[in-house]
Symmetry: C3
Subunit: 274 residues, 3 copies
């Protein structure tokens, strides 16, 4: 148990040691993550997965997405730049993942702010993703509130926690990003507070975090631990990167290095979890 975890939350959060063990499991498994994600962040997402210890495969056409979701270790569906063909691929992949038991993560980018994708996000949430990962505005929109102006969020994470609880009848885990990241299911809540403001100055960090959650979800039966471990891996690496960087450009480069170099012991000693 870490000093930041009070005794009476032992059953409702995760420990630093559990996070470190899950990182080791990821490195041992090299899970294959199918990413149907937006074209802005495909390259960055693939490099984040590779540096972290997973293998990316961006199979996002409707001819192959379903078949691949049956054999992939995990699946990410990200609504950043949907087009008709990639939406068809999402539907095929989600159906196949559900049938095959492949864990899958939904990142409802800009849900609430744009009507077409908001409808799509609601449709996909009803199909029972393993994890929904979003910013507070997106989570509020999915839970019935109104969304922000686009990909950034104008709401605080704490405001979205109650709304996120309302999604847990369909979604096993909801992860709400922010200065403090909140990962929760119907009964448990994990707060993680590493990271740096430059994370918001590099496009696609949140999107890549969704992919990393899909990778981790293939390495443990506990999706709350998976989403928490992905968050911890990324944000503790960000602390290290920020210490070496001059600005957002060099921060992104050092972040990839740090994702690769971070050891389980370093993760356990540096993560701030409660």
């Amino acid at each position: 148990m870490t000093p930041s975890t009070p005794p009476n939350s032992a059953d409702t959060t995760v420990t630093a040691d559990q996070l470190a063990t899950t990182l080791e499991a990821l490195r041992g498994a090299t899970p294959l993550v199918q990413c149907i994600t937006n074209t802005v962040v495909q390259n960055w997402t693939a490099n984040v997965l590779l540096a972290a210890g997973a293998a990316p495969a961006m199979v996002d056409n409707p001819h192959e997405a379903g078949g691949f979701a049956r054999v992939a270790s995990g699946l990410l569906v990200n609504l950043g730049t949907p087009q008709d063909d990639t939406v068809a691929a999402m539907r095929a992949a989600v159906a196949a993942a559900g049938a095959a038991g492949t864990p899958w993560v939904l990142d409802p980018v800009a849900a609430g702010g744009l009507a077409w994708r908001t409808d799509l996000a609601h449709e996909l949430v009803a199909l029972g993703p393993t994890v929904v990962r979003g910013n507070p505005s997106e989570v509020l929109a999915l839970a019935g509130g109104t969304g922000g102006r686009g990909v950034d969020s104008t709401d605080a994470p704490e405001a979205a926690v109650d709304a996120a609880r309302g999604l847990t009848d369909r979604v096993r885990v909801v992860a709400v990003s922010g200065e403090v990241d909140h990962v929760l299911n119907a009964t448990r809540l994990v707060r993680l507070s590493n990271g740096h403001p430059w994370l918001t100055k590099v496009t696609g960090v949140g999107c890549a975090l969704g992919a990393l959650m899909a990778a981790y979800a293939a390495c443990t039966d506990d999706p709350l631990l998976a989403a928490s471990a992905a968050t911890a891996h990324l944000t503790v690496a960000a602390d290290e990167a920020a210490a070496q960087a001059q600005g957002p450009g060099s921060f992104a480069v050092h972040l990839l290095d740090a994702l690769e170099l971070l050891t389980p012991d370093q993760l356990a000693s540096r993560v701030r979890v409660s």
Copy 2:
């Protein structure tokens, strides 16, 4: 007035102080820039906008592009990798931007060299973009000449200035990139001469500059000043980046850092404008 601005051009160019004030306005406004741009440079463009002080949103599907253009601060339409679905999105977004008064920038990548997109570029120019940004070959092609072999230009900027003037009956501002950047409208001409040859060794610098012009156009009523401030911000940052870089890879990284770190005072003292 800067030493490089002769007294008799005071009414026809912009001053270093105006450029610095416009950078401050950008940082204060964090304009939301809708980018319908080519898939090669989406990631880089988003990171340039974030580092500079704007917020990117790559809403490029035909279902949402029009609606989003009504609420975005600015719009970029870039013809680098057009497909049928993104072209439909461009048409919807441009119509909505025109109706809503959203400033929009057209980057006619490879116009002249490829017939289908050249027709599209002419169609879009007729709809009255706030700014057209291109290399000399592209601007010459739009004004009725013949284009180059692709995305690079085989013509000198000076040769395109007269042609660019011919576009100002439909376009408020034309920006012609080159060793010296020329930004002009029907009566005024701004020459900016910062930058480094490595700018041509990183893909999408010109494309990102178009996006930055859309961001700046949301922060001032004078689109000539907007296009000039975007050019100054990028090229003065490039000077700083080149001083720290070993080659084009590290130059791109330092350029993002420099876009973030550049202060209005530094911009005013380093920009070469006439």
Copy 3:
């Protein structure tokens, strides 16, 4: 003849001096390479081509791809993220390249592991690419074996050499990547053994190598030499980058720098070819 080339292989491999001369030819020609490639690696591929000394043009829509393939110096067709519209572009471009004599490279990403693209890869191989570049699993799949689980390979390069020979009735040159890269045609075999494990931790290095082979194929009449020179340029640059990098993020940045800075003399002295 280099020390690493035994006398009796002088007619069946290439020499370090030939590789260096071909690098000089590339820098002198700045070949224009049309890339119809996956959306994950477009940006990286363009930056690799620019740093190496070529010019990229990602013309990948069905309206323009054929026309452009007639005037491009070389063509890359990469099956990483095929969609219906880009597949139509591939077919148009390959037909035009064949008619015009434009050298073209096929990269059959994940062939064998995914049925739809495997059929497409077989269709394209039958049209006679100048070079097929893939990992061992992909080459084995094209030659009639079974493929791996996705974009990475589970087979050793040596195992694919015999299979690759079977393709040389339709393909002029086959390049099989691995710890040792094998480049071969019906009668010759070149082994290149520079490089670093971090090459597998940056997405799209193999994809970019295919583009670089298309660039080099425009600069010599010997496609075996072209594919070998591209491999040597990339992997010798990787040696230099690895010496300066901390992890895969900084490695990718230094790789671009090294591609630009590598001189023909350095290439000749550092390449390990047999």
